[in-house]
Amino acid sequence: MNWKIWSLKKSIWVFHVNAGACNNCDIEIVNLLTPKFDVERFGIKLVGSPRHADALLVTGVGTRQAVIRVREVYRQIPKPCVVFLIGACACGTGIFHKGYHVAGPLDKIIREVDPNAIIAYVPGCPPKPEAMISGVVKALSAI
């Protein structure tokens, strides 16, 4: 196994971007850090800078204003990294499909920057914290 991938899978540090979400997914992400789920025991924690991150957590539909920032944040993350698209909006623009403010879908936006990006989808409105943990486990066992 590539040593970069091997080291990526230990203690994933996460940077979270809200690309026009309604805050519902964001609340569920914060819920992951509470004592009930406590993902920090696996070394998963939110960090304040994309340069410290192993994974990018994107919520929201990807508005015209936000996708410029999402691209820039993705560029600043050390590669290899995993992108988690959290929620129905991030996975495929959801109910905002064809909205005038929508520049997404976000997987297309990220693939414009890096065609080989590793992208995991966690659908739901909002996804349960259990679903997010399951998504992380599946994504890590797939790479």
């Binding site: 015209r64 204003q65 499909h97 909205g99 005038y100 520049a103």
Partner: protein, 161 residues
Amino acid sequence: MNQQELSDRLSEINDKLIDTQQPLDDRIFLLCESKNSYAVNKFLFEQLSLRFVIATGIDSDDCFEVLYHYAYDQLGYIITLRAFIRDRENPAVESITPFLPGAEWIEREIHDLLGIEFRNHPNMRRLILADDWPEGVYPLRKACPLDKLGASSERSEGTKK
């Protein structure tokens, strides 16, 4: 003010209104032309001390409308002033922000989305549309070609091919 006093006070501005409708006991609509909306709003806010809730804009069939919603909390009334803007080419109405600062952002939002000009607004900058949004395109107008604006439409065209 009780119910009778309120309707007496409202009748003072009857000459500026087209019509008054009361579909429910606690719901009053005042209809006026856009040129009278400043005076009526000032009367409702300063003379009757109604609480300004929000304003809304509508692209109606033959005109634009700006609806100013006020609440009279002692009686639980919602009083809405509907101002009709007949000029569809250059819709404009007097801004109420000079005497009602709470209306600043909602007037900027209506200007962004519907392209209604608020005259004498102190700070008419873009509020909610994206920085790269083209000038003169107003997404909530009925004539706006929405499927040409969002990038997500390109994807659905791509999947058809």
